[in-house]
């Protein structure tokens, strides 16, 4: 039996400290003022803080504005198809559990077309940082309603206003078996964003982070015009995301025990004010790829051949 720790050892040698430049690729083509820029910068800072070798990191995304992120990150990246980032990421983790994986999706990508994968990924609890960049709209296809578009909001597919209450992704993930890390942050809170992503990286298991961000072109008024007038409450705990005094101008802080699933579920259901910070964490949920790797053997060639021979015996008739 092989232990996962054994697989995860990346040769250390004389490691040089990486600089931010090491994680920069081509210049982003997002609109000016788009929150995606902030998430990219925060990710690059997390990679540098942890001094991860760019060749060992895999960033997987779906389709949409935010899913272009791997193009701008100098790691290995897979820019796949709409809604399917999580199965690809699961495949990477199952094949190569030593590689750190970051998944970047948009709200339509993850919650709508990728909904089935999203809920099942929470249950698999693969060890990955999963960021959903939620701007409450389909932007790349030019402003259609997404599952999180506010009720009554006019879009190109709902010119007289949307018909339904927006989905609450936090309560959805908090209802899934094996949920192990749920946090919410926003791009207009850069320090909070940085610390949330760092916390997500440190967590062992699937770290689900919903990042609220404004689309300056199609949803400029979302989130109270990008946080200016958006009611939030900061969740505070000694092991949670720090609530710096400067944040208190945006909203109140309240004590929250992110280890208590019942308390976390209550917090996740409440949307006004929006809870910001670490909602739930359970570091003891096993990761699916590790369960699978711990059960499989890695026979040498001779043993492999002997075993196949024994299987063949079962079917041998003469």
């Amino acid at each position: 039996m092989s232990s996962i720790a054994e697989l995860c050892v990346i040769e250390s040698g004389a490691v040089e400290a990486h600089s931010l430049d090491d994680y920069e690729s081509e210049k982003p083509r997002w609109c000016k003022g788009c929150g995606d820029h902030g998430v990219l910068a925060a990710l690059q800072r997390m990679l540098r803080t942890n001094n991860l070798d760019p060749e060992d990191v895999v960033a997987v995304s779906g389709i949409g504005c935010s899913s272009r992120l791997p193009h701008y990150l100098n790691t290995y990246g897979f820019h796949g198809i709409h809604g399917r980032a999580l199965p690809i990421a699961t495949g990477v983790r199952l094949a190569r559990p030593e590689l750190p994986v970051i998944v970047i999706m948009g709200d339509g990508d993850c919650f709508s077309i990728g909904g089935n994968h999203w809920l099942h990924a929470i249950r698999y609890n693969i060890n990955a940082v999963v960021l959903v960049l939620d701007n409450e709209v389909y932007a790349l296809t030019k402003m259609q309603a997404s599952p999180t578009t506010p009720d009554g909001c006019k879009t190109n597919t709902t010119p007289h206003g949307t018909y339904l209450q927006p989905m609450n992704p936090l309560s959805a993930v908090m209802g899934m078996t094996n949920v192990s890390f749920v946090a919410q942050t926003a791009t207009w809170l850069p320090a909070h964003l940085d610390e949330t992503i760092e916390k997500a990286w440190e967590h062992h298991g699937l770290s689900f982070v919903r990042i609220l961000q404004r689309c300056p072109v199609f949803m400029p008024k979302a989130f109270g015009e990008g946080g200016l007038n958006f009611p939030v409450v900061f969740l505070e705990h000694e092991d949670g995301i720090p609530v710096h005094p400067s944040l208190l101008a945006r909203g109140a802080a309240r004590a929250h025990n992110h280890r208590d699933i019942n308390e976390a579920q209550r917090v996740a259901v409440a949307v006004d004010p929006a809870p910001m910070g670490l909602i739930y964490q359970n570091p003891d949920v096993p990761a699916y790829e590790e369960i699978r790797w711990n059960r499989k053997e890695r026979p040498d060639h001779q043993t492999f051949v002997q075993r196949l021979d024994a299987v063949m015996d079962r079917y041998t008739v003469s």
């Binding site: 997987v60 990246g77 897979f78 796949g80 199965p87 690809i88 699961t90 079917y315 041998t316």
Partner: protein, 635 residues
Amino acid sequence: MNRPRIVRLPEHIVEIVSDAGEGAQKAAVAFARLCAKTGNGLWTVEIIPSEIRPPPHTIGSASGNRIRLAERSQVTNAGNLADVVLAFNEMALLSRLEAGSLADDVLVLIDDQWATHDVEEYRLSYREVLDKFRTRGATIIEMPLQEETLRHVEDAEQGKNMFAVGLLCALYSKDVNLLKNVIRGIFEKKTREVIETAVKLAGAGYEYGLAHLEERFEIQAVPTDVPKVAMNGNTALALGAVSAGFEMCSMYPITPATSASHELSDIFEDFGGFVHQAEDEIAAIGVALGASYAGKTALTITSGPGMALKAEFQGLAVMTETPLVIVDVQRGGPSTGLPTKIEQADLLHALYGAPGDAPKVVMAPSTIEECYYILSVARKIAEEFRMLVIVLSDANLATGQQLFDRPDVCETQERPPLDLSPVSPGALPYDWDPTTGLSQRLIPGQPGGMGVTTSLNHDVNGKACYDSESNQRGHAMRSRKLAALQRSLHRPSVYGEPEGDLLLVGWGSTRGAIEEAVDMAREEGYAVSSLNIQFLSPLPPGLHEIFAGFEKIITVELNYSDDWEDPLITKENRRYGQLAWILRAATLLDVDCYAKVPGRPYMPVEIVDEIQRILGDQPAVESLGETLRALKGVS
């Protein structure tokens, strides 16, 4: 009783049918294994209802197996009409007549409990069905299957099948001790009590057979020194996946593909691999693609409806040039169609199902033995050409069993550790060779190889671009790989003479029946040959030259085509069989087709009939055999 007559035969077809859940399948497995152990060649076909426990004593409830046994070790198909049928009730028996499976003079062995059953409806239908069989010329042996079984167990449902297999052991003059060992092997995971009851019942069935059968059969086996294995095509695929060095199979349950993953799930972890059961068909291919991207070429197994769901991911594999293997165990379609029955109707979907121009390799194994070996070839092509390879198996191969030479396990592909050496400066992720379209595969973890793999059109650097030149070039490079592969393929060999009046072209599991039909027709004087095409994309070289040797080319496939005689059908609107479409397009020849959807394999005699219809009675060396004439009304 007088010493029974023993009739020696070169081959026979026997069917065993019961209500679903009564164990005819298990009996057939035991009998087939017994015959295989004595050296008979065989081919078995499962008779499976679409539900788990359909209403009993109805036509739709029939479940069992057809077993074709022969002296020769090589049996390539399920054969023609059955010679013997052992039925647990008259409706199961009738279902086989309605399926067109039984010879007129079939020997029927049937449980006689229905003759005196409390339910009048059963008594009446039993008499009516048996009368029908007698009128057609069948020989009927009624036997107290239920009554005799009840002498040994309290619940006859849990033992009739073993009594029945003992009876067949006597009917075919097999060694009952060997049968008992086979049964012990089959039930090895059961309790000792269950095993010994099964063995006792088989012994009782055998004794009953010896005492009551006036005529018995013997199909001798040709002794051979070459060790043989007997397995179905799905098992062969599973073992083949292990042997080919795959480390992951990602799948979602779907009939008739799933049993391949059952076998694999059971053993794969011992070989350093695992089966991942995904949340849906889309995720199943997505996980496989992710694993392949990360450097471990993976496999996904599905059937038609799953292929449809995987179509977008197929395009992604093609666009990103990520090696990937998909096995499609075809079933009847469209939609849910005939989930447990054979059809070869996913060929065009495999070729063209993904949106955009998505060149990929499509291969089809034609025997169960090839199911074992094909995944090694598929994996090598996928990796060397960075391509998607689709392997089209079918329900006939999946559930049928065949005897073949035991594979040499030493020929398994070694799995070298991933090469994570630094990428040489200036190396590009899509550094296409302009002649072959080939480029090196970079794997996450390789220093210097960082970059995005994208579903967007991209250039040699892997960067997304939107200009016409790079788009044309990307398409050309992905397409070029097919041409490069085609140039490395062998010209397929013709079965029979290289020249003649008619060439039958098939693909996949119809091969055995087609070649047997060719043998039969040539014996009658017809100048007919056949060709099995293993590579459907790219098509193998030499088809033009091969076709030039024949007056007429016709495909024989198990998919739908319009008949010339159908209402409204003209040369302009007729829809052809799927291989015929692609051969017509590739050769500009007027390739015709014999393409039907019976939901079962073709019988060789049906194909002989078609040959005769096309070529007429001209050879007239001698008339086609009696079997063929007897069949006219059925086929």
